[in-house]
Structure formats: C-alpha cells, structure tokens
Symmetry: C3
Subunit: 252 residues, 3 copies
C-alpha cells in the first residue's frame, strides 16, 4: 500500500516514460526498481553501450526490467552501425537472443533514405519487436537543416509506415536540438506545430531536463510521453505528472 | 579508525547538514551510509515523492537513517497538499506511522497566512516532531516579491513561534531563488542582512551547488547549516567544511 | 562474451582512463565493476576525501579495484596537506598500509618549489608507487598566471624527473582552468602547443565534460589519456573512444 493514500491526487491516464540506462549495475537496478519500477515502461540502453557488456549481463538486466513490464531496447545508433555494415538481420537475431523486446530505428548518425527506412520498419515489426522510430540528427548543424514542416512530414510518414511510437530527438543534453534551443528552452512554435499536426499519443518527446518536462506536462497534459529521463529522475518526473512538486502543484 | 589520522585537520563544531533523497533504493543507502552516514543529520524525502512509495519501504528507509542518528522528514510540499485538503491531522499521524521524526512547514506552493502558519507550527510541535519551517516561494516571480526585510521578519517570526530550524529556500537548482541570482551566485547584501539580523545557528541554507557551499562556509564559518545537499555530494561538502579541498584548503 | 561481437568496431590501443571516486559504497562499486571494470585503469579518491573513511573501507575498496587491475591513489591535495605538515614519509607509509599503489604529486592548493617537487617525485618513486604529477592551480586566478610556455616547461621537467604520468588539471568542473575557458570549451592553441611540445603518451587530460572528451578524442586520437571521468560516465566515454556514439560515429 502506498503512503499517504488518504490524500486526493491527480490521476494519470495511459502514459509512456522512457528511461536511459548508460551502464547501471544489476543489483543497483534491482534495488531501485522497488522504488521506481512502477513509474516507467521503456528502458533504452543508450546509443552503442550494449556492445560493451557481456551477453549474460544484458540478458539478466533485460529479464529484470521485463519483470516490471518495462520494454527494453538498444540505442538507435547500434542499429545504424549494423545497417552501415549490412548486418541488420544478424542484429535483430542477436537482440532477440539478448532479450530485447523493442527496437529503435533512427538516422541520427548516418544517412538512411526514406525507402530504406520504411523497409527497416517492416523488417523490425516482422521480427516481432515493438518498433520505435526517431526523428532528428545528432549533429546540431545537420539537425537544423530540417524545417518544422520536414519534421512533421517525417513523423507522419513513420506512423503511416506503422511505427509504434515516434521519438523526437533531444539527446542526453537537451540543448540545440529538435524543439530545444541552445539553452534547452522549448521553441514554442515548433512544439505547437507538431502538436497540431500529428497524433500526440504516438509521439515521445526526449526531455532530459526538468524545465522541459515541466513545460511539456503543462502544455500537452500530464500523460505526455517523455523520454531520455535519467534513471535517478524517474520519481521526480512522476511527481511532476501528479502535481506533487511546486512546478505543477495545483496546476494540472 | 579513520585513515590518515596523524594529519592535523580543521575541526567542526555542532553542524547540521540536510540531504535530499529523491528516490534512493534501500540497499544503495545501506551501502552508502557506511561511507557517509556520519556526515549528515537531516534527510528530506524531496517534495511529494513519499506518496509514490510503498509504506514498508519508507518505514525501512526511515529506520535505516535513524540508526545513524539522521532525522527524516517528508518535503514541505506534501504538508501543503494535506493542508489544502484539511487533512493535516491525518498527515501527521501517517507520518508518525511511517517513522518520520521531523516535519517541514512551508508555503512554497500554496498560500498559508501567518496565523495558520503559527498554528501549524504548534500542531507539529505538539505532535512531537522536530519542526522545520521554510521561507520562500517555489515560483521565482512570487519569490522575488519578498524584500529582504520581509524575509528577515518571516524568519524571526517563525523562531518566535518556536520553529526549531528555519530553512532558506534554494530548491534543487539553486538558481533565481532566495539569496541566489539567476546564475546561482549569492546576493551578498541579502546574505549579510540575514546574517546580521537573525540567529545564525537556527538558519539552514539550501545550497545545492558547490560554489554556494564554498562561499557560505568561507563567509559564515565551516559549521554553517547547509541543506539540499545531493546524496553523492555528502563527502565533498564535508571536505569543504574541513579544508580538505582546494577551495577551502588553508582558508578556515 | 560481449554482445553484438559480429559488428566491426574501432580498436583502441593502450589507453589510460582515470575515474573520480568521491564517496562510493563498496557494494555499489562491486556491482558496477561487472559492467565498467574493464574500461578504466586509474581510480582517484578525490582531493582529501580519503581522510573521512574508516581504514578498513579504503582497504576493501582498494583490493576490489585492484582485482580489476585498476591503480588507486588519494587526491594530490592530501599529499599537499601532509607536505605542509612535514609528514610526507608517514603519509606514504599509511597510503601503503591502506593499499594505494599510486600517488599524485600536485601543487594546486599550496606552494611547492621546483626543487622540492623533484625531491617528492624521487621519494614517491623510491617508495615503489606509480607516480603521477599534476600541473595547474585550483584557484583560476592563480592558474591563469601560467603561460602556455610555463605549462609545457613544467610538464617536461616532471617527465625528466621521472614522473610516470603528467596530469593537466581540469578539476571536477572543467571550467576556467588549464586548457578550458569559462564555458568549458578547449583553448585550441593551448591544446596544440602542449601536443606538439610534450610526449603525448605521458600526458593525461582531466576532461570531466562530454564536449571535452569528444574534442580530445577527435583531435588527439581515441587512445588519448583522459582523467576525472565521473563514475557513471565510464561506459559513455568508452563508446566515444570506439565510435559507438553519434559524436564520434564513423569519425575515428
């Protein structure tokens, strides 16, 4: 039973929260999930970190996360590496052996044309994975080449192509990328344009910084899908969603 | 026996250090306290985080902290929530059941008039808790409405009303709030005004950032009461207090 | 066996990575090393933190780190404290009892003339330690008094005096110190001057921030020696070295 249950609180409908794991130990995770395991449902092994671990460790970690109904996937960069080496099929088989049950398709670090992207979505879905696609370039200069119209079109194309969830790139820093300016503030016009022209429940916003989480919750609702949450901020983000922190207290 | 005991070192008199817990696991805390458990004596479950945990977890964590003589309390935001729902009595009873032995009274997120505030202090003290009160608003615009005179008067009123310790709000960010400017630097005039017009040993400064800890130690003494210390900075802050880090080395 | 072994990847030659421990618990380290223990080989107990621990804890932690072939040493500040009290011999004996197998000689917080510095290097080496020396002052104003020529001369003098590795001070913040400007960006001319006039394999760059790690890897090679890496960034830094993150993907 939760503490202070007699207090009225804000409810959250279906919500997706994606957390970044960049090298956590098994026992640390096991211990932490007793506290935060009910408050997120996607776990990303950041970028290419999975390649540095022993297979057994990944298998054990995946099993542990799944026991809390948390989907796990390797970072999109790793699929890009496999794709650049024409080894996507082997990649998907290995990911399955390791116990991953979702896959992210991105082109943040390499060039993948729209036809190939659509084919990758098919291939990943056919292999039985929950399929996330990501919009955005890791390099800010390249990322800035997208107009907001481009982004909206890319999102909607991915959804037409049956991507289960489309992630808006925010990186770990949340600065100078996607809808964030150099200081990490949200570009409001871009946010609204995406909101009005895409199916919001299919969009996940990478929002590593607190000001971004607060603003997205206040503007898009407390069940906005948020990603790239750092592992030690899972509880904090949930308090923001539930109006249990000053920034959203009595504002939801 | 401590290491390198033959080296002369700076002593610290009675000192209070308050640390922020925003979702730490039981075993992680147990393991860490063997390293840092002697170096802090207040632990705050930040804002409304306590509501997200199972009762048993809080009870176990509180017991663990108490075994190191560390007082524990839920964030002031939670009492504000209870107060806004007219459930302060239930709140205090539940907090006792959960093993908390201190309570913070704040009005950072809601409006509580001075009469009600005084009554809350009475009520919390009567229930047997160590009683902390906090001065400051979570919202920077509202916080800036206080003149330094206002703050000093609020502090001294709380102390007259028997608050055991008065906290100067600094939030987790330490920026654009209380005595901190937008960059997190200390507003010197404000610091000195508070220092000269209040009983310093009853004041706890929330000082989440290192530059703030350094300056407060150099200006108010190494036994200045510091709060909102992040869990992984407990040892660092203690080295600053003892002149074991460059910033305060041979300066105390 | 590592995951995704069938993917071609960038190789790293001999490389040194130094990580900062500012108060980690034994079990947390034990758990983490299964993930990151192969990816760093120096561990520094920051500044004077070692003085705050029980001897047994340090002995146990040192043994644990050594089991992964990681050299351990107390921060240079502690040797400066011992030197200021004329207790270097006792310091070295205690460090040996505690299981440290490397020692850092710095003058970041105190004044040590060049003759004394040379003598300390001799003394530390004679005692059997791997010997690191550090160039730079903790106080930015004092640090800025060094010209780049001064720094290069200090580095080369240390190497002539048989220092095993020379560290370029970057502090934990990486700002306004050494080769970093106030925003933490690298001063390119200074970097190149040091690169061209010193033996690079003997230089370790303290580079706590990601932009610094990326730039040093791209400019000096993926086997550049990096220091002051935070414990939870060990895997991240390794992915940068191996081209497994957007910033260095296909650029090495």
């Amino acid at each position: 039973m939760k503490a202070f249950e007699f207090l009225d609180k804000v409810k959250i409908d279906d919500v997706n929260t994606m957390v970044l794991d960049k090298g956590l130990g098994y026992k640390f995770i096991e211990d932490s999930l007793k506290i935060n395991g009910d408050y997120f449902n996607f776990l990303k092994y950041g970028w290419g970190t999975s390649m540095l671990y022993d297979k057994e460790i990944i298998q054990d970690k995946n099993e542990l996360y799944h026991s809390y109904n948390i989907r796990t996937y390797p970072g999109g960069t790793l699929l890009e590496l496999a794709n650049s080496q024409n080894k996507v099929a082997e990649f998907l088989e290995e990911a399955d052996n390791l116990g991953f049950n979702a896959i992210e398709i991105s082109d943040g670090s390499s060039i993948i044309d729209s036809q190939k992207r659509a084919q990758l979505i098919d291939q990943v879905k056919d292999a039985g994975y929950f399929t996330l696609t990501e919009i955005g370039k890791k390099n800010p200069e390249k990322d800035h080449e997208y107009s907001i119209k481009d982004r909206i079109q890319l999102i909607n194309t991915d959804i037409e192509n049956k991507s289960d969830m489309v992630i808006i790139e925010g990186r770990e820093s949340g600065k100078n990328i996607g809808i964030y300016d150099e200081k990490g503030n949200i570009k409001n016009d871009d946010l609204l344009a995406i909101k009005e022209n895409t199916p919001n429940n299919k969009i996940m916003w990478e929002a590593p910084n607190k000001n971004q989480q607060v603003e997205l919750i206040l503007k898009l609702g407390n069940n906005v899908n948020l990603g790239n949450i750092s592992f030690d901020e899972i509880i904090s983000v949930t308090t923001l969603r539930k109006g249990l922190r000053g920034d959203t207290f009595l504002k939801l």
